[in-house]
Amino acid sequence: MLSEEDIIAGCKKKRAEAQQALYDRYSGKMFALCLRYAKHRAEAEDVLQEGFIKVFDKIKTFRGDGSFEGWIRRIMVHTAIKYYHKASRKNEAIGWESLPDSPMKPEVYGQLDADQILDMIQDLPEGYRLVFNLHALEGYKHKEIADMLEIGESTSRSQLTKARSMLQKMIEKMFTIVL
């Protein structure tokens, strides 16, 4: 099995086996990431494909300063954002009314699995989903998100708040039905 260094070196030389090894190693994680940003599975596959093409194209610029997975992850996120801009959906009306804060018990989250969370994130309106992913899961600041999505900083904040409320509502609803 190739080490990460071997994979990087091989990909820089455009060796097919190294490229496939890189894809095999990271495609699962990156596809899960893409699914969070995309509206549906087909769109996530497009983002994943475009993202890996960029990874192979730009890998010669990776100097090994930071985490290789983090580098790939940033490229995927950026590709997803670019895809969002390209699809011209940024003006899509978000129009989600403010939800009342409904505190939930911590044990409720323990019963959720990743697929359920992913489904709920995918059900979020696009603007909410992007801001929630970027801030809550990737750790970007509101100013950075505002630059990326070409929206105001305050819009980013309000969308994050609404995304959280909506997710909580979804979780609550799901457990109400189950119970």
Binding site: I53, A114, E144
Partner: protein, 552 residues
């Protein structure tokens, strides 16, 4: 549950989450990687094509020059070489004439029996004649000529004493027997006497010629293909040297023979044999023409060495605009703020240049142009310097006078430091030396020509001076000859290939001199920034060229 805990819980749940994509995704990636690798070779193939075209052009151009005539600008040995089948006809006619007086019929008979092998013999005869004719030119004024020269002299066949007319068609007809026999010696004599006899042959249509000529035309040639020597012009003192006149007669004779040969005296099979001969000779003479290859549909492809092309030297200056497009290099989303900063502070301005261009232009309008161009472009950088400090020092001097009248001077200094924002501006300058190589087509007009050109420019040198924001710390760093003094290089050391296209309006002041105005667009194929740089910068230039042209 707090917001942080909610986010953390979701993050933890999704941290190790993996979803396997369909195998189709990897197949698509593989296909895309393969096609991108091919596209790289496509550029290489394009570059190779341009180099091959340029090399072939240079090769054939230089070869064409080597066959250019020296002695006679209007008709020369090189012209003779360009018409191999015509000369072959002369040889055939002459041979048949010397062997059998019934030459017209026998020429036909000979030709009817001719084959590709015979045609090859004609070619050999033609080459011999050509060589001998060259010797004739060199030995003008001398008293001895080679035996082969007699054939050229026969073309100058005329009867000075009797004033009878001469027709090349009669060369192989009954009356030509007398002409060829009787006048060959005379022509020899006349040629060696050079200026002693100032006879000038002239050519006119057969309608004005003698019965002998008309008779010949009836049997062998179209009406307008005969050539005659008129007595009226024999005594022209300003006529060119006799050898030249003889040569001109010979050319006329060849022209008539060609027309006769072409579908008149030969069957299609024989004509094909002659075509084959011509092709063979062209190959033998390396007169392979690139125009035939590039534009096979053009019937009037000029042949190298046939003086149907000319050279042009252009000197021009150009002014225009540089357009720059900055994008995130897709490496990192944090680059966006740096991108916005660069976009908001940099404004590409003017673009000036001058150059020299050498062109080869053929009469069918096709041209190849190459040269050297020096240009300079500027990008204005304007930014708000928020670190400005303005210090105002107020000095007050008070003179105090006490009751005793003693004065005391009191100094007081007050410094007021104000911080503010100042708009600063400077220019980044980029100097380039490029080699343009274009293919063009000219639409000829009475005095105005319109030319359409397209091709590539190869960058030889790219120098820059000025300052640029560095992405690392958003501070300014000097651009040296090789880029930023510190940090990642914002510009490549060379710009590679750019695509150019232009449309020129050329106004001819005289046959040699003209002036032109030529709008040009130039697009740089690769970004001017290195691939490892945070931003990708693409350049595009639009300019107006003004220049003068000398054609020769």
């Amino acid at each position: 549950m707090s917001i942080n805990k909610f986010d953390k819980h979701i993050r933890e749940k999704l941290a190790a989450h993996e979803v396997a994509p369909r195998p189709l995704v990897w197949e698509n990636i593989e296909t895309q990687l393969a096609s991108s690798a091919k596209s790289q070779y496509r550029w290489l193939a394009g570059l190779l094509f341009v180099v091959v075209i340029a090399g072939a052009t240079y090769y054939f151009t230089s070869m064409g020059s080597s066959t250019s005539p020296e002695a006679f600008p209007s008709s020369s040995s090189s012209d003779l070489q360009q018409q191999p089948n015509q000369t072959a006809m002369i040889s055939t006619g002459e041979e048949s004439t010397s062997e059998n007086p019934q030459s017209v019929t026998q020429v036909e008979q000979l030709n009817s029996q001719s084959s590709i092998d015979q045609a090859t013999e004609f070619a050999i005869a033609e080459n011999t004649l050509s060589d001998q004719s060259d010797k004739m030119q060199k030995s003008q004024g001398e008293t001895s000529f080679s035996a082969g020269l007699t054939k050229a002299q026969e073309a100058a066949n005329y009867d000075n004493a009797s004033g009878s007319t001469y027709s090349p068609r009669a060369e192989s007809g009954p009356s030509a027997q007398n002409n060829s026999k009787a006048t060959t010696e005379q022509a020899d004599r006349m040629l060696t006497e050079t200026d002693q006899t100032a006879a000038k042959p002239s050519f006119s249509s057969s309608e004005n010629q003698s019965a002998t000529v008309s008779e010949m035309q009836n049997t062998t040639a179209p009406e307008n293909q005969s050539a005659t020597v008129s007595n009226k012009e024999i005594a022209d003192d300003d006529s060119p040297p006799l050898v030249q006149r003889a040569w001109e007669n010979k050319q006329q004779f060849e022209a008539a023979s060609v027309l006769t040969t072409d579908g008149k005296m030969h069957s299609p099979v024989q004509a094909a044999a002659f075509l084959t001969l011509e092709e063979r000779q062209r190959k033998a003479l390396n007169e392979f023409d690139i125009c035939d290859v590039l534009f096979p549909s053009i019937e009037d492809c000029p042949k190298f060495g046939d003086r149907r092309r000319r050279y042009q030297i252009d000197a021009y200056s150009q002014v225009g605009m540089l357009f720059s497009h900055l994008t995130n290099n897709d490496l990192d989303v944090e680059v966006n703020s740096y991108l916005n900063q660069r976009r908001s502070t940099e404004v590409p301005t003017w673009y000036v240049g001058f150059g020299l261009r050498l062109s080869t232009q053929w009469t069918n309008g096709i041209s190849l142009r190459g040269g050297l161009q020096v240009s300079e472009s500027q990008i204005r950088v304007e930014y708000l310097d928020e670190t400005q400090r303005q210090t105002t020092v107020n000095v007050s001097i008070d003179t105090l006078v006490d009751q005793d009248g003693n004065t005391t001077v009191v100094w007081d200094t007050i410094s007021i430091i104000e911080t503010g924002v100042e708009t600063r501006q400077f220019h980044n300058t980029f100097t380039q030396i490029d080699i343009p190589l274009t293919v063009g087509y000219t639409f000829f007009g009475p005095r105005y020509d319109v030319e359409v050109n397209a091709g590539v420019m190869f960058n030889l040198l790219f120098q820059r001076s000025g300052r640029v924001f560095a992405p690392e710390d958003n501070a300014f760093y000097e651009l040296g000859r090789t880029g930023a003094a510190r940090g990642t290089q914002p510009y490549r050391s060379e710009l590679g290939i750019s695509l150019v296209t232009s449309v020129a309006l050329n106004y001819r002041l005289s046959p040699q001199f003209s002036v032109f105005v030529e709008p040009q667009l130039r697009y740089f194929v690769d970004p001017v920034s290195p691939s490892s740089y945070a931003l990708q910068e693409n350049w595009f230039m639009g300019s107006l060229m003004l220049g003068g042209r000398y054609a020769f």
